[in-house]
Symmetry: C2
Subunit: 283 residues, 2 copies
């Protein structure tokens, strides 16, 4: 029987192995400077932070430690968003992982947890959009420099992520009881075959439902919508099973254009964890 | 800076990701009942045993724990041989991993370590050949049932593996100062490019040098020799770089025929660990 932290590490590994996961590093594809092996190393070294979460350490400390470890590889940001979902999920895993349990964990986050979240940005470059005007002092890209401003305003980590949720679907999970993470888990459990194939199918289903917010922030909402429309069309045709070449071509096209639906991949990692932890899937 | 146990876990992951690794599960290939995801789960759950080795626990206990964890997945034996190399290497890693240091570790193994090795066979089915006539009572397939006979004869784990070394190139490493593991590490360090590509090249170079003993035991020496001759020819032509399709075709052919040079893959995993630990490669 694996521990929650082990399930989270395995979720990170299964996520990157799932193929085709259009636009993302997967078992068959590397991006230009971001390779499969960087994700493997990220998963190995994120473990200390995940174990902190399992032992009930403050969410901010566990997240910062996980990111610090994850960043010890040459590819840059591999799993920041995934860890922002996995750390509260791991913390909520005992005795029973439910939306209510993880909502309680995020509701109980503090200003210190928010400070840990900001410090995590010191360890790795993460792509984020410009903050709203009234949040400039709290721009996450300031990293630990923003902590005094954060403390002055007295914002918890949930407060910070609520302000990021419009336009960031990882943050949005924190405000919705991890709705799409649990949905992804249900779909993984309902599918059949090797987990890496199920992962690819569930990735496509999520991408078909909502434009990826990382794509929207990096490349604009039109590109994000285009990607989701293509995903919706392929998903409606059950192309992963009926026309695998069409999905592979979609994947190759997104990689060639540098379009990376990384937020959707983060949600898949969270879904894998929930499904492993609940016994919905097993390897 | 990763710990020796983390480097060993990463070595297991990089080994299975290396492609093409003819006849083995790799980033592009699954075998019929043994899939990529089984190796990912094996690497996650072997970690407790690797951490025991890092902390200086007896080799037999650490190995048994690593195998017990590794076996908690549906594919059966994924990394038994790799762990039999990694556990003493991890134990020898501090302060400096050298052939002398790991020779000392294996020389100091005891009858209790041998008992741990036998108990490990209770956790997973491992393919092994029939023992010599005078070793029937010590057939490893008896698992823990053989421990009283083992204790009566007073054999250390090194004694047991010395008796297995003719015909088992994992056991042979124990008797040669892990010669081919260190050779593999040197080659990995001397190569260039992503580690998963170097892994494939070094796998081919090792397979070109000596017939794989798992293939010899399962399929006969003629088949093992044929595989090595084909590997030698491809390696001499530097086919991984100049004729990648020829190596892919070789890989597909071995998978189709169910020929699995797993011992060579174990040596690559050990080489990856030595190279990571010495700084010869980094991810």
């Amino acid at each position: 029987m694996k521990t929650p932290a082990q399930h989270a590490q395995l979720a990170l590994l299964l996520e990157v192995a799932g193929t085709p996961k259009p636009g993302n590093v997967d078992r068959r594809r590397d991006l230009e400077d971001l390779w499969f092996e960087h994700f493997l190393a990220g998963a190995v070294a994120a473990m200390e932070g995940l174990e902190l979460a399992e032992r009930g350490a403050p969410i901010g400390d566990a997240f910062e430690r996980a990111v610090e470890g994850m960043a010890e590889q040459g590819g840059g940001n591999t799993q920041f968003g995934s860890l922002l979902l996995l750390v509260p999920l791991v913390s909520a895993a005992r005795p029973d992982l439910t939306p209510t349990a993880v909502e309680r964990v995020v509701t109980e986050t503090t200003v210190d947890d928010a400070a840990g979240f900001y410090r995590a940005f010191d360890h790795v470059d993460v792509f984020v959009d410009d903050p709203p005007d009234d949040m400039e002092a709290l721009d996450v890209r300031r990293g630990s420099d923003a902590v005094p401003d954060l403390e002055e305003r007295g914002l918890s980590l949930l407060d910070v992520l609520e302000r990021s949720a419009p336009g960031d679907d990882v943050a949005r999970e924190w405000t919705t009881g991890f709705e799409r993470s649990f949905t992804a888990a249900d779909r993984l459990a309902a599918a059949s075959g090797p987990i890496v194939d199920r992962t690819a199918a569930v990735f496509l289903s999520l991408l078909a439902e909502r434009p990826d917010t990382l794509v929207a922030n990096r490349r604009g909402e039109d590109v994000a919508r285009e990607v989701t429309e293509r995903a919706r069309d392929l998903h409606a045709r059950e192309a992963n099973e009926t026309e695998p070449d069409a999905v592979e071509a979609f994947a190759d096209d997104l990689v060639a254009r540098g379009i990376n639906p990384g937020t959707t991949a983060d949600l898949v990692a969270a879904g894998l964890f929930v499904a492993l932890e609940s016994g919905g899937i097993e390897v």
